[in-house]
């Protein structure tokens, strides 16, 4: 596949305790981009992980080159939103890819995002687990029920025009992401939802690509009552303010 003229894709990887997964994600990203021919860079924003994530990131920088791997760490765990803002300051691409660094998102979908973006000249392309052959691995019935139930309520209340609002595997035009980051105030799941809702308000176009989400940590970190409550609170806030 020939590379498009002039497009560069900056992948933002906020990490916290991802020493195991980081090299694997970077390897997959590098391979995917090399095979597809698109220009890329990977920006690793580590929030002072105690497990040595930064050290392994430095090894990766030596292997792949400091033009492809940019290390922009922070001293403490400061949250996802600020990690994106921090990462974007150093991004030289005109497109930004955000994704999880724990291998739940597979880089193989990025060329599909890019294709979709070019097909419809979209401002945002969002990976969806709920449409087409998108899906999840590693969730039990209860978790799936919570997911579908929450999504249903969100669709009824917000009518967002996108099927997967809490997903965090997306491609944005850089200036679109910058604009949205200025406007978004929520945290956690609701933050990802707010981005899509604000994008619609501002008239940005959103395309969707089915993705598979491989959850390997679900067994250790169950979805707690606290998270559900804060999700509902965030949803009602969005309902009342957008």
């Amino acid at each position: 596949m020939a590379a498009a003229s002039g497009d560069k894709y900056s992948v933002l990887l906020p990490t916290y305790n991802e020493r195991e997964n980081l090299p694997l994600v970077v390897w997959l990203l590098a391979r995917t981009f090399r095979e597809s021919g698109y220009d890329f860079e990977i920006i690793i924003i580590d929030d002072g992980s105690p497990d040595g994530t930064q050290e392994i990131a430095e090894q990766l920088e030596k292997i792949y080159g400091s033009d492809k791997i940019l290390l922009r760490p922070r001293a403490r765990k400061l949250g996802l939103g600020t990690a994106y803002i921090h990462g974007m300051k150093h991004a030289s691409g005109n497109f930004i890819v955000i994704m999880d660094a724990d291998l739940s998102h597979h880089p193989k979908f990025i060329p599909e995002f890019i294709r979709k973006q070019k097909e419809g000249d979209f401002d945002i392309v969002s990976g969806t687990r709920y449409k087409g052959n998108g899906g999840v691995y590693g969730w039990d019935l209860k978790r799936k029920l919570i997911s579908r139930g929450a999504n249903f309520i969100t669709q009824v209340l917000l009518r967002p025009g996108a099927s997967d609002l809490t997903g965090s595997f997306r491609l944005y035009r850089k200036e679109v992401l910058q604009k949205l980051m200025e406007k978004c105030v929520s945290k956690g799941y609701v933050f990802q939802m707010e981005m899509i809702v604000r994008a619609r308000q501002l008239g940005y176009t959103i395309g969707e690509v089915p993705i598979s989400f491989v959850d390997r940590v679900y067994g250790e970190s169950k979805l707690g009552g606290n998270e559900i409550v804060s999700f509902l609170k965030g949803l009602l806030t969005l309902f009342a303010t957008t």
Binding site: P23, L24, W27, L28, I56, Q59, L60, I63, L103, H106, Y130, N133, G134, G135, V136, Y137, G138, L141, K144, L145, S147, R148, G149, N151, F152, V156, L157, L158, R159, Q201, S212, F213, V214, L238, F239, A240, T241, T242
Partner: protein
């Protein structure tokens, strides 16, 4: 009541960007509510025929129950058709193996 309904209708149809979802819902409910109230509380001279009035009175409850059934059915259907990505998980394991092998070769100390 008709006038109230019309005001809400106008607000509903005006630029969507100005209204929050909450406001849209409140206006929509107020519109339907005032229409329903106008028809059920109409003075004897303006009333609809008896069968219509009998159906009209419990209509809000019927609609609520219908929506509840629709919600259950939709969520149930979506739950049942939620794709399980078995091959994706297997493929990931293979990729992990290949990645670790290649990275060791390139000098990464895990």
């Amino acid at each position: 009541l008709v006038r109230v309904g019309l005001v809400f209708l106008l607000r509903l149809l005006s630029p969507q960007a100005a209204m929050t979802k909450l406001t849209q819902w409140l206006c929509g409910l107020a519109l339907l509510g005032s229409a329903w109230a106008a028809l059920t509380l109409a003075p004897p001279g303006l009333r609809l025929p008896a069968p219509f009035r009998q159906a009209l009175l419990p209509l809000p409850v019927y609609l609520l129950v219908a929506f509840g059934c629709y919600s259950l059915a939709t969520v149930g259907y979506r739950l049942a058709t939620f794709n399980d990505c078995e091959e994706a998980a297997a493929e990931l394991q293979e990729h992990i193996r290949a990645a670790r092998a290649d990275l060791s070769r390139r000098g990464l100390r895990f």
